[in-house]
């Protein structure tokens, strides 16, 4: 009987030890994001955050899942608020009430993750590929803008896979906000629409 108990204990110990080497990671993004410092332009926009976008769970590979939904909604809400003076957030395009506004529907095209075991580099990397579908309030298409974002950890020293992917994802999300703030008004079709609608003031 004592031998059986020792065997069970040994097996349990071995299972625990091996499970410690598990390479799966379920990442939840809990970090808060800073408010953007920007003077919004006198442009109206409605941002359509679909339920799918708000609850988006990325599965870049079999062993990794990243709960991006609430973090990306928070970050992009903040960034869009820095771009437009009049803004509303809705769940479907049918709910838009603003007139003469841009209607922007962001979606995630793809999320990719690379780990040191994949690349032999000493960093974890995350790519998030967004697409912004931009229309006018009357439903005329303006553009479909591809917006890639990238984040990497400084190194992988003493980082668990989950923490490292979380850190890289937060950096990628911040990069998405930076890309949006920097480049949105440089999109030629958006610029042309603003000119057509005479929404650019003198300083622009």
């Amino acid at each position: 009987m004592p031998t059986t108990k020792i065997s069970i204990f040994s097996i349990l110990l071995a299972v625990l030890f091996i499970s410690g080497c598990s390479t799966s990671a379920q990442v939840q993004i809990d970090s808060p994001f800073p408010t953007v410092v920007s003077k919004p332009k006198a442009v109206k926009a409605a941002i359509v955050f679909t339920d799918e976008f708000k609850t988006y769970l990325a599965t870049p590979n079999r062993t990794t899942s990243i709960d991006l939904g609430s973090a990306q909604t928070e970050l992009l809400s903040n960034a869009f608020a820095g771009l437009f003076r009049d803004i509303e957030f809705v769940s479907t395009a049918a709910d838009v009430t603003l007139e003469n506004a841009l209607v922007i529907t962001p979606s995630v095209q793809e999320v990719q993750v690379s780990t040191p075991s994949d690349t032999y580099l000493n960093v974890y990397e995350v790519w998030i590929k967004y697409n912004l579908d931009i229309q006018t309030a009357s439903g005329d298409p303006v553009d479909s803008w591809f917006m890639p974002a990238y984040g990497k950890t400084p190194d992988s020293f003493m980082l668990s896979k989950t923490n490292a992917i979380e850190e890289a994802t937060v950096i990628a999300l911040r990069d998405a906000g930076a890309k949006l703030m920097l480049d949105f008004y440089r999109i030629p079709s958006v610029y042309n629409w603003l000119v057509r609608e005479q929404l650019l003031d003198e300083e622009q």
Binding site: P34, V37, S38, D175, G177, A178, M181
Partner: protein, 219 residues
């Protein structure tokens, strides 16, 4: 015999010292005044693909500056305070871009609110190369031990660029180049003889950077 052993140890330890060179460039001899309310922010460049200026080094340089009673504004707090304009994608690489950023009243206001006078960009990394030798360890019923010899060389190259956020000018540049060899001896027990290359680079850069600033005692 004892003298020989002591001599050997002294020679070996002396070999663990890092060689550090500092180059300084200042466009003029004007002193850089900073009052008790103003602070300096030390930022790492993170836009290179193959390396990031590590936070540990930035914290180390910041602690050397703080030791001289110079107010140092925390890097992450600064980057968050004017998000997204100092992210790797958007951070100004030159004074021209900085001037354009400072034309934005919202950004200028944030910098003034936090009393940030100078910005120090740190760019560089510490790398290990020229690894040589081998060491092996074994354990058996009668005991265990290591035998062998390994060595590697580390080099730290960092550059600091000081920008004045009031005048929007470059106040100077410092470059530190530190290198040294570390050893691992396997004589039953492994004996590491490590050269603190990065620490040396940090101490030298921090000390030199402190001398850039003159604390205005009147305020």
């Amino acid at each position: 015999m004892n003298k020989l052993l002591a001599l050997c140890c002294a020679t070996l330890l002396a070999g663990c010292g890092a060689t550090t060179t500092i180059d300084e460039y200042r466009p003029n001899n004007q002193i850089m005044e900073i009052n008790g309310e103003e602070s300096v922010v030390i930022l790492g460049r993170r836009d290179a693909g193959h390396y990031d200026t590590d936070r540990e080094f930035i914290d180390c340089v910041a602690s050397k500056m703080e030791g001289a009673d110079i107010g140092v504004f925390p890097e992450q707090q600064f980057v968050d305070a004017i998000y997204p304009w100092f992210e790797p994608r958007t951070a100004p690489k030159g004074l021209k871009r900085l001037t354009r950023l400072m034309e934005d009243p919202a950004i200028k206001q944030q910098i003034e609110r936090n009393h940030i006078r100078y910005l120090v960009w740190l760019d560089g990394s510490t790398e290990t190369h020229d690894k040589g030798g081998s060491i092996s360890c074994a354990i058996g019923p009668g005991g265990g031990g290591c035998f062998g010899f390994a060595q590697w060389e580390k080099s730290s190259i960092y550059e600091a660029i000081v920008w004045d956020l009031t005048n929007l000018t470059e106040k100077g540049r410092l470059r530190v180049d530190s290198s040294g060899t570390s050893y691992l001896l396997g004589v039953v027990a492994p004996i590491p003889l490590l050269t603190p290359v990065k620490n040396d680079a940090c101490a030298s850069l921090g000390t030199q950077l402190k001398q850039f600033f003159t604390l205005d005692q009147v305020q």
